[in-house]
Protein backbone atom coordinates (compact mmCIF):
# COMPACT_ATOMS: atom_id res chain seq x y z
CA UNK A 1 0.00 0.00 0.00
CA UNK A 2 1.23 3.47 -0.87
CA UNK A 3 2.45 5.38 2.19
CA UNK A 4 0.26 8.39 1.44
CA UNK A 5 -2.82 6.12 1.51
CA UNK A 6 -1.65 4.55 4.77
CA UNK A 7 -1.16 7.98 6.24
CA UNK A 8 -4.61 9.09 5.10
CA UNK A 9 -6.26 6.04 6.69
CA UNK A 10 -4.39 6.58 9.95
CA UNK A 11 -5.31 10.27 9.99
CA UNK A 12 -8.94 9.49 9.31
CA UNK A 13 -9.11 7.02 12.21
CA UNK A 14 -7.25 9.44 14.49
CA UNK A 15 -9.43 12.41 13.72
CA UNK A 16 -12.73 10.57 13.48
CA UNK A 17 -12.22 7.43 15.53
CA UNK A 18 -14.63 4.53 15.26
CA UNK A 19 -16.72 3.84 18.40
CA UNK A 20 -15.10 6.53 20.51
CA UNK A 21 -17.04 7.23 23.67
CA UNK A 22 -17.93 4.90 26.54
CA UNK A 23 -21.41 3.82 27.63
CA UNK A 24 -22.69 2.97 31.07
CA UNK A 25 -23.91 -0.57 30.44
CA UNK A 26 -23.30 -3.50 32.77
CA UNK A 27 -23.17 -5.88 29.81
CA UNK A 28 -19.75 -4.48 28.90
CA UNK A 29 -16.44 -5.51 30.42
CA UNK A 30 -14.18 -2.53 31.11
CA UNK A 31 -10.42 -2.63 30.60
CA UNK A 32 -7.63 -0.09 30.74
CA UNK A 33 -4.87 0.36 28.21
CA UNK A 34 -2.08 2.47 29.67
CA UNK A 35 1.29 2.69 28.00
CA UNK A 36 3.95 2.38 30.67
CA UNK A 37 6.64 3.98 28.57
CA UNK A 38 4.61 7.03 27.58
CA UNK A 39 1.40 8.79 28.36
CA UNK A 40 -1.23 6.95 26.34
CA UNK A 41 -4.21 6.39 28.51
CA UNK A 42 -7.21 4.60 27.03
CA UNK A 43 -10.29 2.88 28.45
CA UNK A 44 -11.98 0.14 26.44
CA UNK A 45 -15.31 -1.58 26.96
CA UNK A 46 -16.14 -4.90 25.35
CA UNK A 47 -19.48 -6.69 24.98
CA UNK A 48 -19.69 -10.37 24.15
CA UNK A 49 -22.64 -12.26 22.77
CA UNK A 50 -21.74 -15.82 23.68
CA UNK A 51 -18.50 -16.47 21.88
CA UNK A 52 -18.78 -13.46 19.60
CA UNK A 53 -17.41 -9.97 20.15
CA UNK A 54 -20.55 -7.91 19.70
CA UNK A 55 -19.18 -4.46 20.45
CA UNK A 56 -16.09 -2.56 21.57
CA UNK A 57 -15.88 1.15 22.39
CA UNK A 58 -13.01 3.25 23.71
CA UNK A 59 -12.17 6.63 25.12
CA UNK A 60 -9.23 8.52 26.54
CA UNK A 61 -6.16 10.45 25.52
CA UNK A 62 -3.44 8.92 23.43
CA UNK A 63 -1.14 9.61 20.52
CA UNK A 64 -2.11 9.36 16.87
CA UNK A 65 -0.83 5.79 16.48
CA UNK A 66 -2.46 4.43 19.66
CA UNK A 67 -5.76 6.12 18.91
CA UNK A 68 -5.95 5.22 15.23
CA UNK A 69 -4.84 1.63 15.79
CA UNK A 70 -7.47 1.20 18.49
CA UNK A 71 -10.12 2.54 16.14
CA UNK A 72 -9.05 0.25 13.29
CA UNK A 73 -8.79 -2.72 15.65
CA UNK A 74 -12.33 -2.21 16.90
CA UNK A 75 -13.56 -2.07 13.32
CA UNK A 76 -11.84 -5.36 12.55
CA UNK A 77 -12.69 -7.28 15.73
CA UNK A 78 -16.42 -6.67 16.01
CA UNK A 79 -18.27 -9.77 14.81
CA UNK A 80 -15.32 -12.11 15.25
CA UNK A 81 -15.37 -15.11 17.59
CA UNK A 82 -12.92 -15.07 20.47
CA UNK A 83 -10.72 -17.56 18.66
CA UNK A 84 -10.76 -15.57 15.41
CA UNK A 85 -10.00 -12.39 17.32
CA UNK A 86 -7.03 -14.01 19.07
CA UNK A 87 -5.67 -15.26 15.77
CA UNK A 88 -6.16 -11.81 14.28
CA UNK A 89 -4.29 -10.13 17.14
CA UNK A 90 -1.44 -12.63 17.10
CA UNK A 91 -1.00 -12.16 13.36
CA UNK A 92 -0.94 -8.38 13.87
CA UNK A 93 1.58 -8.73 16.71
CA UNK A 94 3.81 -10.76 14.40
CA UNK A 95 3.72 -7.97 11.84
CA UNK A 96 4.63 -5.29 14.39
CA UNK A 97 7.41 -7.45 15.83
CA UNK A 98 8.83 -8.18 12.37
CA UNK A 99 7.97 -11.87 12.41
CA UNK A 100 6.20 -13.81 9.68
CA UNK A 101 2.56 -12.85 9.22
CA UNK A 102 -0.32 -13.30 6.85
CA UNK A 103 -1.21 -9.97 5.30
CA UNK A 104 -4.48 -11.31 3.88
CA UNK A 105 -5.87 -11.53 7.42
CA UNK A 106 -5.03 -8.00 8.54
CA UNK A 107 -7.70 -5.86 6.92
CA UNK A 108 -6.97 -2.15 7.38
CA UNK A 109 -4.41 -2.96 10.09
CA UNK A 110 -1.95 -3.40 7.25
CA UNK A 111 -1.41 0.38 7.40
CA UNK A 112 1.02 -0.23 10.28
CA UNK A 113 3.19 -2.67 8.34
CA UNK A 114 6.23 -0.43 8.50
CA UNK A 115 5.80 0.95 12.01
CA UNK A 116 8.79 -1.18 12.99
CA UNK A 117 10.89 1.54 11.40
CA UNK A 118 9.86 3.71 14.33
CA UNK A 119 10.70 1.53 17.34
CA UNK A 120 9.33 4.15 19.75
CA UNK A 121 5.90 3.73 18.10
CA UNK A 122 5.66 -0.07 18.35
CA UNK A 123 4.16 -0.01 21.83
CA UNK A 124 1.59 2.54 20.69
CA UNK A 125 0.52 0.31 17.81
CA UNK A 126 0.18 -2.68 20.13
CA UNK A 127 -1.35 -1.02 23.16
CA UNK A 128 -5.05 -1.83 22.77
CA UNK A 129 -4.46 -5.13 20.94
CA UNK A 130 -2.51 -6.54 23.88
CA UNK A 131 -5.16 -5.52 26.39
CA UNK A 132 -7.90 -7.18 24.32
CA UNK A 133 -5.68 -10.24 23.98
CA UNK A 134 -5.29 -10.40 27.77
CA UNK A 135 -9.05 -10.21 28.16
CA UNK A 136 -9.68 -12.90 25.55
CA UNK A 137 -7.13 -15.29 27.03
CA UNK A 138 -8.66 -14.78 30.46
CA UNK A 139 -12.24 -15.49 29.41
Amino acid sequence: MDSSIKRAIIMQHYQKPFHKGLKEDSNYVKIKANNESCIDNLDLIVKFNGDIIEDICFDGEACAISTSSTSIMIHELIGKTKKEALEFIENYENMINEKEYNEELLGECIVYDDIYKQPNRKKCALLSFLEIKKLLTKS
Binding site: I39, T67, Q118
Partner: protein, 399 residues
Amino acid sequence: MNIYDDFPMLKKGYIYFDNGATTFKPQCVIDSIKEYYENYSVNAHRGDYTLSLKVDTVYEGVREKVRNFINAKNSNDIIFTSGTTESLNVIMFGYVKNILNSGDEILITKAEHASLTLPCFEISKLKNAKVNYIPLDKNDLVTVENVKRSITPKTKVIALAHVTNIMGDERPLKEIIELAHQNNIIVVVDGAQSVPHVKIDVQELDIDFLAFSAHKMYGPTGVGVLYGKDEYLEKVTPHNYGGGMNNDFSSDVSMELKRLPQRLEAGTPNIAGVIGFGSAIDYISKFGMDQIRDVEINLKKYALSKLKKLDNIEIYNDNSVGSTIAFNVKGIFSQDVAIYLSKRNICIRAGNHCSKMLKEHTGVKNTCRVSFSFYNSEEEIDELVKALDNKNILEESIM
Protein backbone atom coordinates in the same frame (compact mmCIF):
# COMPACT_ATOMS: atom_id res chain seq x y z
CA MET B 1 36.56 28.85 26.39
CA ASN B 2 34.32 26.86 24.09
CA ILE B 3 31.55 25.01 25.91
CA TYR B 4 30.68 23.07 22.77
CA ASP B 5 34.06 21.32 22.84
CA ASP B 6 33.64 20.30 26.47
CA PHE B 7 30.67 17.96 25.86
CA PRO B 8 31.11 14.88 23.65
CA MET B 9 27.32 14.49 23.42
CA LEU B 10 26.99 17.92 21.80
CA LYS B 11 28.80 16.50 18.77
CA LYS B 12 26.41 13.64 18.07
CA GLY B 13 24.04 15.57 15.89
CA TYR B 14 21.22 16.08 18.37
CA ILE B 15 19.57 19.23 19.56
CA TYR B 16 19.02 18.39 23.20
CA PHE B 17 16.28 20.25 25.05
CA ASP B 18 15.57 17.72 27.79
CA ASN B 19 18.02 19.04 30.35
CA GLY B 20 15.37 19.00 33.06
CA ALA B 21 15.46 15.21 32.79
CA THR B 22 19.24 14.94 32.74
CA THR B 23 22.16 16.94 31.37
CA PHE B 24 25.05 15.90 29.17
CA LYS B 25 28.39 15.34 30.90
CA PRO B 26 31.51 17.35 30.17
CA GLN B 27 34.67 15.44 29.27
CA CYS B 28 36.27 16.31 32.62
CA VAL B 29 33.51 14.44 34.47
CA ILE B 30 33.90 11.40 32.23
CA ASP B 31 37.69 11.56 32.63
CA SER B 32 37.59 11.73 36.42
CA ILE B 33 35.42 8.61 36.56
CA LYS B 34 37.70 6.81 34.15
CA GLU B 35 40.73 7.98 36.12
CA TYR B 36 39.28 6.46 39.30
CA TYR B 37 38.56 3.12 37.65
CA GLU B 38 41.94 3.00 35.94
CA ASN B 39 44.29 4.33 38.59
CA TYR B 40 42.95 4.10 42.15
CA SER B 41 39.91 1.85 41.96
CA VAL B 42 39.73 0.72 45.61
CA ASN B 43 37.19 1.18 48.39
CA ALA B 44 36.74 4.26 50.53
CA HIS B 45 36.89 4.49 54.32
CA ARG B 46 39.53 1.77 54.52
CA GLY B 47 42.65 3.85 55.04
CA ASP B 48 44.97 0.86 55.45
CA TYR B 49 47.00 1.49 52.35
CA THR B 50 47.97 4.47 50.25
CA LEU B 51 45.51 3.97 47.41
CA SER B 52 42.62 3.67 49.82
CA LEU B 53 43.66 6.84 51.57
CA LYS B 54 43.64 8.58 48.20
CA VAL B 55 40.04 7.47 47.59
CA ASP B 56 39.07 8.71 51.03
CA THR B 57 40.70 12.05 50.41
CA VAL B 58 39.10 12.57 47.01
CA TYR B 59 35.67 11.31 48.17
CA GLU B 60 35.63 13.50 51.27
CA GLY B 61 36.97 16.34 49.15
CA VAL B 62 33.80 16.20 47.07
CA ARG B 63 31.74 16.46 50.24
CA GLU B 64 33.59 19.67 50.99
CA LYS B 65 32.99 20.90 47.41
CA VAL B 66 29.26 20.30 47.82
CA ARG B 67 29.29 22.05 51.19
CA ASN B 68 30.95 25.03 49.63
CA PHE B 69 28.65 24.94 46.58
CA ILE B 70 25.46 25.30 48.65
CA ASN B 71 27.21 27.12 51.51
CA ALA B 72 26.33 24.58 54.20
CA LYS B 73 27.87 25.14 57.63
CA ASN B 74 29.57 21.72 57.97
CA SER B 75 30.57 19.14 55.41
CA ASN B 76 29.00 16.57 57.78
CA ASP B 77 25.62 18.04 56.85
CA ILE B 78 26.09 16.65 53.34
CA ILE B 79 24.95 13.05 52.84
CA PHE B 80 25.54 11.31 49.52
CA THR B 81 22.56 9.34 48.22
CA SER B 82 21.58 7.84 44.88
CA GLY B 83 19.63 10.93 43.85
CA THR B 84 16.85 13.33 44.77
CA THR B 85 14.31 10.53 45.11
CA GLU B 86 16.36 8.67 47.69
CA SER B 87 17.20 11.90 49.52
CA LEU B 88 13.53 12.81 49.79
CA ASN B 89 12.59 9.30 50.90
CA VAL B 90 15.26 9.35 53.62
CA ILE B 91 13.98 12.73 54.84
CA MET B 92 10.34 11.66 54.80
CA PHE B 93 10.71 8.17 56.27
CA GLY B 94 13.74 8.89 58.47
CA TYR B 95 12.66 12.21 59.93
CA VAL B 96 9.23 13.54 59.00
CA LYS B 97 7.50 10.24 59.79
CA ASN B 98 9.01 10.31 63.28
CA ILE B 99 7.69 13.76 64.13
CA LEU B 100 4.16 13.27 62.80
CA ASN B 101 1.28 12.43 65.09
CA SER B 102 -2.20 11.36 64.15
CA GLY B 103 -4.09 14.33 62.67
CA ASP B 104 -0.96 16.35 61.85
CA GLU B 105 -0.69 17.99 58.45
CA ILE B 106 1.89 18.09 55.68
CA LEU B 107 1.59 20.97 53.22
CA ILE B 108 2.57 20.44 49.61
CA THR B 109 1.24 21.72 46.26
CA LYS B 110 -0.36 20.02 43.29
CA ALA B 111 2.64 20.95 41.13
CA GLU B 112 5.05 18.72 43.05
CA HIS B 113 6.95 15.85 41.49
CA ALA B 114 6.10 12.23 42.33
CA SER B 115 9.37 11.86 44.26
CA LEU B 116 8.18 14.37 46.82
CA THR B 117 4.46 13.68 46.67
CA LEU B 118 4.40 9.90 47.01
CA PRO B 119 6.60 9.62 50.13
CA CYS B 120 4.30 12.26 51.70
CA PHE B 121 1.23 10.21 50.74
CA GLU B 122 2.77 7.06 52.18
CA ILE B 123 3.81 8.52 55.53
CA SER B 124 0.47 10.29 55.85
CA LYS B 125 -1.20 6.88 55.63
CA LEU B 126 1.25 5.28 58.06
CA LYS B 127 0.81 8.06 60.62
CA ASN B 128 -2.83 8.87 60.00
CA ALA B 129 -1.73 12.37 59.05
CA LYS B 130 -3.15 14.59 56.34
CA VAL B 131 -1.67 15.93 53.11
CA ASN B 132 -3.00 19.42 52.37
CA TYR B 133 -2.36 21.56 49.32
CA ILE B 134 -1.24 25.17 49.19
CA PRO B 135 -3.51 26.61 46.48
CA LEU B 136 -1.71 27.78 43.34
CA ASP B 137 -2.75 31.19 42.08
CA LYS B 138 -4.11 31.87 38.59
CA ASN B 139 -0.57 31.90 37.20
CA ASP B 140 0.12 28.49 38.86
CA LEU B 141 2.37 30.15 41.43
CA VAL B 142 2.79 29.63 45.17
CA THR B 143 2.32 32.92 47.01
CA VAL B 144 3.37 33.60 50.58
CA GLU B 145 -0.19 34.75 51.21
CA ASN B 146 -1.55 31.33 50.18
CA VAL B 147 1.03 29.54 52.31
CA LYS B 148 -0.03 31.67 55.27
CA ARG B 149 -3.66 30.79 54.68
CA SER B 150 -2.89 27.07 54.43
CA ILE B 151 -0.99 26.80 57.71
CA THR B 152 -2.96 25.46 60.65
CA PRO B 153 -1.85 24.60 64.20
CA LYS B 154 -1.58 21.01 62.95
CA THR B 155 0.90 21.80 60.15
CA LYS B 156 4.26 20.16 60.92
CA VAL B 157 5.98 20.16 57.54
CA ILE B 158 5.96 22.15 54.31
CA ALA B 159 7.52 20.20 51.43
CA LEU B 160 7.94 21.74 48.01
CA ALA B 161 10.19 22.24 45.03
CA HIS B 162 12.30 25.37 44.88
CA VAL B 163 11.76 25.45 41.11
CA THR B 164 9.06 23.22 39.58
CA ASN B 165 9.84 20.78 36.83
CA ILE B 166 7.10 21.74 34.34
CA MET B 167 6.23 25.38 34.85
CA GLY B 168 9.71 26.32 36.06
CA ASP B 169 8.36 28.80 38.58
CA GLU B 170 10.69 29.73 41.39
CA ARG B 171 9.02 29.73 44.79
CA PRO B 172 9.65 32.58 47.27
CA LEU B 173 11.60 30.19 49.51
CA LYS B 174 13.07 32.71 51.90
CA GLU B 175 9.70 34.16 52.83
CA ILE B 176 8.02 30.75 52.97
CA ILE B 177 10.74 29.37 55.24
CA GLU B 178 10.62 32.42 57.51
CA LEU B 179 6.89 32.06 57.85
CA ALA B 180 7.18 28.31 58.44
CA HIS B 181 9.79 28.74 61.16
CA GLN B 182 7.66 31.33 62.93
CA ASN B 183 5.05 28.58 63.15
CA ASN B 184 7.50 25.82 64.19
CA ILE B 185 7.13 24.11 60.83
CA ILE B 186 10.11 22.48 59.12
CA VAL B 187 10.63 22.95 55.39
CA VAL B 188 11.78 20.21 53.01
CA VAL B 189 13.03 21.58 49.70
CA ASP B 190 13.22 19.58 46.47
CA GLY B 191 16.15 21.24 44.73
CA ALA B 192 16.36 18.91 41.73
CA GLN B 193 15.36 21.66 39.29
CA SER B 194 16.90 24.62 41.09
CA VAL B 195 20.40 23.66 42.25
CA PRO B 196 21.57 23.14 38.62
CA HIS B 197 20.33 26.59 37.59
CA VAL B 198 20.26 28.98 40.55
CA LYS B 199 22.77 29.87 43.25
CA ILE B 200 21.59 28.24 46.49
CA ASP B 201 22.76 29.34 49.89
CA VAL B 202 21.20 26.98 52.44
CA GLN B 203 22.21 29.17 55.37
CA GLU B 204 20.88 32.38 53.90
CA LEU B 205 17.60 30.69 52.96
CA ASP B 206 17.62 28.85 56.31
CA ILE B 207 16.63 25.58 54.60
CA ASP B 208 15.99 22.64 56.96
CA PHE B 209 16.32 19.85 54.39
CA LEU B 210 17.39 20.00 50.73
CA ALA B 211 17.54 17.22 48.12
CA PHE B 212 19.13 17.32 44.67
CA SER B 213 20.74 15.14 42.00
CA ALA B 214 24.18 15.21 40.39
CA HIS B 215 23.03 14.07 36.96
CA LYS B 216 20.87 17.14 36.38
CA MET B 217 23.93 19.33 36.97
CA TYR B 218 26.44 17.75 34.55
CA GLY B 219 27.46 14.97 36.95
CA PRO B 220 26.89 11.21 36.68
CA THR B 221 23.64 9.36 37.31
CA GLY B 222 23.18 7.54 40.60
CA VAL B 223 24.48 10.30 42.88
CA GLY B 224 22.48 12.77 44.88
CA VAL B 225 22.70 14.92 47.95
CA LEU B 226 20.71 15.10 51.12
CA TYR B 227 21.48 18.27 53.03
CA GLY B 228 20.04 18.81 56.47
CA LYS B 229 20.65 21.07 59.40
CA ASP B 230 22.73 19.31 62.04
CA GLU B 231 19.96 19.25 64.63
CA TYR B 232 17.60 17.47 62.21
CA LEU B 233 20.10 15.17 60.49
CA GLU B 234 21.20 13.88 63.90
CA LYS B 235 17.66 12.59 64.41
CA VAL B 236 17.24 10.94 61.01
CA THR B 237 16.74 7.19 61.32
CA PRO B 238 18.98 5.42 58.81
CA HIS B 239 17.28 4.05 55.73
CA ASN B 240 20.06 1.45 55.34
CA TYR B 241 21.91 -0.44 58.04
CA GLY B 242 25.19 -2.19 57.29
CA GLY B 243 28.89 -1.72 56.84
CA GLY B 244 30.53 1.62 57.16
CA MET B 245 27.83 3.13 59.36
CA ASN B 246 28.50 1.30 62.66
CA ASN B 247 31.28 1.43 65.24
CA ASP B 248 30.43 -1.81 66.95
CA PHE B 249 27.73 -4.44 67.36
CA SER B 250 27.44 -7.65 69.35
CA SER B 251 25.33 -10.80 69.63
CA ASP B 252 22.91 -9.25 72.13
CA VAL B 253 21.66 -7.20 69.11
CA SER B 254 23.19 -4.02 70.44
CA MET B 255 24.91 -1.69 68.02
CA GLU B 256 26.71 1.57 68.17
CA LEU B 257 26.36 3.70 65.08
CA LYS B 258 28.89 6.11 63.64
CA ARG B 259 28.46 9.84 63.56
CA LEU B 260 27.26 11.82 60.57
CA PRO B 261 27.71 11.61 57.68
CA GLN B 262 28.77 7.91 57.76
CA ARG B 263 25.73 6.94 59.87
CA LEU B 264 23.51 7.65 56.85
CA GLU B 265 25.80 6.18 54.18
CA ALA B 266 25.76 2.42 54.78
CA GLY B 267 27.54 0.14 52.33
CA THR B 268 30.11 0.95 49.69
CA PRO B 269 29.09 4.29 48.27
CA ASN B 270 28.97 5.24 44.61
CA ILE B 271 32.63 6.28 44.74
CA ALA B 272 33.11 6.78 41.00
CA GLY B 273 29.86 8.74 40.83
CA VAL B 274 30.77 11.01 43.71
CA ILE B 275 34.20 11.65 42.19
CA GLY B 276 32.52 12.53 38.88
CA PHE B 277 30.14 14.81 40.74
CA GLY B 278 33.13 16.63 42.20
CA SER B 279 34.40 17.33 38.70
CA ALA B 280 30.97 18.54 37.66
CA ILE B 281 30.95 21.04 40.52
CA ASP B 282 34.44 22.21 39.54
CA TYR B 283 33.25 22.56 35.96
CA ILE B 284 30.17 24.67 36.64
CA SER B 285 32.03 26.69 39.24
CA LYS B 286 34.34 27.91 36.47
CA PHE B 287 31.35 29.74 35.01
CA GLY B 288 29.52 30.51 38.24
CA MET B 289 25.83 30.02 38.83
CA ASP B 290 25.02 33.65 38.12
CA GLN B 291 26.48 33.44 34.63
CA ILE B 292 24.76 30.10 33.98
CA ARG B 293 21.45 31.56 35.08
CA ASP B 294 21.89 34.64 32.88
CA VAL B 295 22.63 32.52 29.81
CA GLU B 296 19.63 30.27 30.46
CA ILE B 297 17.25 33.16 31.11
CA ASN B 298 18.33 34.76 27.85
CA LEU B 299 17.86 31.48 25.96
CA LYS B 300 14.37 31.17 27.36
CA LYS B 301 13.51 34.77 26.50
CA TYR B 302 14.79 34.26 22.99
CA ALA B 303 12.83 31.03 22.54
CA LEU B 304 9.65 32.57 23.94
CA SER B 305 9.89 35.58 21.64
CA LYS B 306 10.19 33.25 18.62
CA LEU B 307 7.61 30.67 19.71
CA LYS B 308 5.03 33.35 20.49
CA LYS B 309 5.06 34.34 16.83
CA LEU B 310 3.77 30.89 15.85
CA ASP B 311 -0.02 30.76 15.92
CA ASN B 312 -0.14 26.97 16.38
CA ILE B 313 1.70 27.03 19.72
CA GLU B 314 0.13 27.47 23.12
CA ILE B 315 2.60 28.37 25.89
CA TYR B 316 1.71 27.75 29.54
CA ASN B 317 4.53 29.34 31.53
CA ASP B 318 5.85 32.44 29.80
CA ASN B 319 6.01 34.29 33.12
CA SER B 320 8.21 31.85 35.03
CA VAL B 321 11.95 32.36 35.43
CA GLY B 322 13.02 28.70 35.31
CA SER B 323 14.71 27.41 32.19
CA THR B 324 11.74 25.37 30.95
CA ILE B 325 9.00 26.11 28.44
CA ALA B 326 5.79 24.11 28.71
CA PHE B 327 3.69 24.21 25.55
CA ASN B 328 1.42 22.32 23.22
CA VAL B 329 0.94 22.45 19.50
CA LYS B 330 -2.75 23.22 19.21
CA GLY B 331 -4.80 20.12 18.47
CA ILE B 332 -1.87 17.70 18.58
CA PHE B 333 -1.12 15.23 21.35
CA SER B 334 2.20 16.11 23.00
CA GLN B 335 3.68 12.67 22.34
CA ASP B 336 3.09 13.07 18.61
CA VAL B 337 4.90 16.42 18.69
CA ALA B 338 7.86 14.88 20.53
CA ILE B 339 8.06 12.04 18.01
CA TYR B 340 7.83 14.48 15.11
CA LEU B 341 10.69 16.56 16.57
CA SER B 342 12.69 13.42 17.26
CA LYS B 343 12.65 12.72 13.52
CA ARG B 344 14.52 15.99 13.18
CA ASN B 345 16.94 15.00 15.95
CA ILE B 346 15.40 17.46 18.38
CA CYS B 347 14.94 15.93 21.84
CA ILE B 348 12.12 17.27 24.00
CA ARG B 349 9.96 15.64 26.65
CA ALA B 350 6.23 15.02 26.33
CA GLY B 351 3.78 14.05 29.01
CA ASN B 352 2.86 14.93 32.54
CA HIS B 353 6.52 14.94 33.67
CA CYS B 354 5.83 12.99 36.88
CA SER B 355 3.66 15.81 38.22
CA LYS B 356 0.33 14.14 37.76
CA MET B 357 -1.71 16.35 40.07
CA LEU B 358 -0.91 19.58 38.24
CA LYS B 359 -3.65 18.86 35.70
CA GLU B 360 -6.20 19.18 38.52
CA HIS B 361 -5.19 22.83 38.73
CA THR B 362 -4.32 23.78 35.15
CA GLY B 363 -6.78 21.54 33.32
CA VAL B 364 -3.96 20.61 30.94
CA LYS B 365 -3.05 16.98 31.25
CA ASN B 366 -0.01 16.65 29.02
CA THR B 367 2.48 19.13 27.65
CA CYS B 368 5.63 19.31 25.64
CA ARG B 369 8.55 20.53 27.69
CA VAL B 370 11.69 22.20 26.45
CA SER B 371 14.31 22.58 29.19
CA PHE B 372 17.49 24.51 28.53
CA SER B 373 21.05 24.25 29.68
CA PHE B 374 23.63 26.97 29.27
CA TYR B 375 25.23 24.86 26.53
CA ASN B 376 22.21 25.31 24.27
CA SER B 377 22.32 28.00 21.62
CA GLU B 378 20.04 30.42 19.80
CA GLU B 379 20.78 28.51 16.58
CA GLU B 380 19.33 25.36 18.15
CA ILE B 381 16.25 27.30 19.21
CA ASP B 382 15.90 28.56 15.63
CA GLU B 383 15.88 24.92 14.47
CA LEU B 384 13.15 24.07 16.97
CA VAL B 385 11.04 27.04 15.92
CA LYS B 386 11.53 26.19 12.25
CA ALA B 387 10.40 22.62 12.91
CA LEU B 388 7.32 23.75 14.83
CA ASP B 389 6.37 26.26 12.15
CA ASN B 390 4.74 23.54 10.10
CA LYS B 391 1.09 22.81 9.38
CA ASN B 392 1.75 19.09 8.87
CA ILE B 393 3.30 18.13 12.21
CA LEU B 394 0.72 15.42 12.90
CA GLU B 395 0.97 13.86 9.44
CA GLU B 396 4.75 13.91 9.57
CA SER B 397 4.80 12.37 13.05
CA ILE B 398 2.91 9.31 11.79
CA MET B 399 5.40 8.05 9.25
